[in-house]
Symmetry: C2
Subunit: 280 residues, 2 copies
């Protein structure tokens, strides 16, 4: 099988590494809007050749669209216009509903499988690509009934090859869930980083005291805006709703503190500890 | 040297491991209000013997007070009442100002060194103790001029033995800094865990989708209330102030989202990315 990867960043690159190693495909073609990224991906062996999109699309059995979701929204219909009946297009974007809606009536809709591997790091670009990024994580396939059965099977096998747990969901449902378990975490970290960086303007040594707890809570604040602004915009309603819930909880902490209400503080924390069932 | 450790949890236990290995002391006496913790610490070799506080205090050259700050506030004057001129008492609590204020006029104030090793994990109890917990982190000594010069030197050497960077600070200053780089991160994580756990009541599978980003941002939510309620209460004013700054930042995100203001979202995120200078 020949896989064409449009977007040679963290996800596209890491998938190339693992799919090659798993012998899921034997030839990898890449393209990227950044010439530097494309050449880097080639040089570090993520892909076997770089081609313009037109040729990549012609020569690939499966086209992996691994770009930020605003670019995917633009490119997806263009790609679907060009493919034949046997080719498969799959995306990896972090929001799904607007994207699937935008191509709902496309004549080649069945060739498109909407998916999202729930894995990543805070880094980006081809040199961020790592092996085993996906192992044990969830690989979501959305609105599978709108895709060709064989296409869904192929993409399921692709996620199996990455050692992911394949989960089938409605796109709208997916976007609610990811607002909670991914998008909110990113906003939280960005806001934390900004708060402490503000203080650093007057307190040059504030980071001297930072330890692992700060590092892990602020880690996602290293994530880049090219990827995250489109995600936030596309999942706006869900994210606003989740942020309201989160800010209510912060207000509860604030109120308990203001009122010296140790009882409430204790029970908020004990309640939060139930997260131990889900996090090792 | 004989070190007496009151409180055989994560910090007391981990310090015992490293100080023994560094040959900073050759005999370790322990005590803990929980008989189970005490016996566990003995059995896993964190300390050489368990004694009641009275005897521990008598027999130790250096007494390490490794208990939650509310217990420390109660115990510290009692310990200072009992020691002779050559003994040293050092605490490891996460808040410093109220504690040093409470013993400011104690006749044996000079024998007490107020300190805080900026290290930890989200786990607690003697079985949470690990080697190398402190290496490379900051070991804070507060209000050193109120302690005996030799006592400060001994405690500095102790933190050297743990491979910590020793930093001398005012206690009030310390509490402002830790509100930013530690206490806020904990509140943030507790609130995130609560928000997602609330959703889980209706969405049983929400955690199926959780990935590394959620795990790292919610990690501190596993921390326990015995330690954190006293810390929040003692650092209340600083924490409320920091929470206000943080919630302002969240509100900025919210407003930018509501107004479809991609420009502002982008610059908030790009600004937050400056955290890369401080986090690997």
């Amino acid at each position: 099988m020949t896989i064409g990867i449009i977007g040679l960043g963290l996800i596209g690159g890491s998938m190339a590494i693992d799919l090659r190693r798993a012998k899921f495909a034997d030839h990898f073609i890449g393209s990227d809007r950044s010439e530097l990224n494309a050449q880097t991906a080639l040089r570090i062996g993520l892909v076997d050749e770089i081609l313009p999109n037109e040729e990549l699309i012609q020569k690939s059995d499966l086209i992996l669209l691994a770009v930020p979701v605003n670019a995917a929204t633009r490119l997806l219909p263009e790609i679907l216009d060009k493919i034949n009946d046997n080719q498969i297009v799959v995306d990896i974007c972090s929001t799904k509903e607007k994207l699937v809606d935008s191509v709902h009536y496309h004549p080649k809709r069945k060739n498109y499988v909407a998916s999202h591997p729930m894995a990543g790091t805070e880094f980006n670009g081809p040199w961020a690509a790592v092996p085993n990024l996906f192992a044990g994580k969830a690989g979501i396939i959305c609105n599978a009934e709108d895709s060709d059965h064989n296409a869904v099977e192929t993409v399921t096998k692709m996620y199996d090859a990455l050692n992911m747990r394949v989960i089938y969901m409605r796109a709208s449902h997916h976007d609610v869930h990811t607002a909670y378990v991914s998008h909110l975490s990113h906003v939280i970290s960005f806001a934390l980083a900004l708060t402490v960086l503000d203080k650093e303007k007057n307190e040059k040594n504030i980071f001297d005291l930072a330890s692992g707890g700060f590092a892990s809570t602020a880690r996602l604040a290293k994530s880049n805006s090219d990827m995250w602004v489109p995600i936030f915009m596309q999942n706006k309603q869900n994210l606003l709703s989740v942020m309201d819930s989160y800010m209510e909880r912060l207000t509860q902490f604030k109120k308990a503190l203001e009122e010296n209400d140790e009882q409430t503080l204790r029970s908020l924390i004990d309640d939060a500890n139930r997260i131990k069932r889900y996090l090792r």
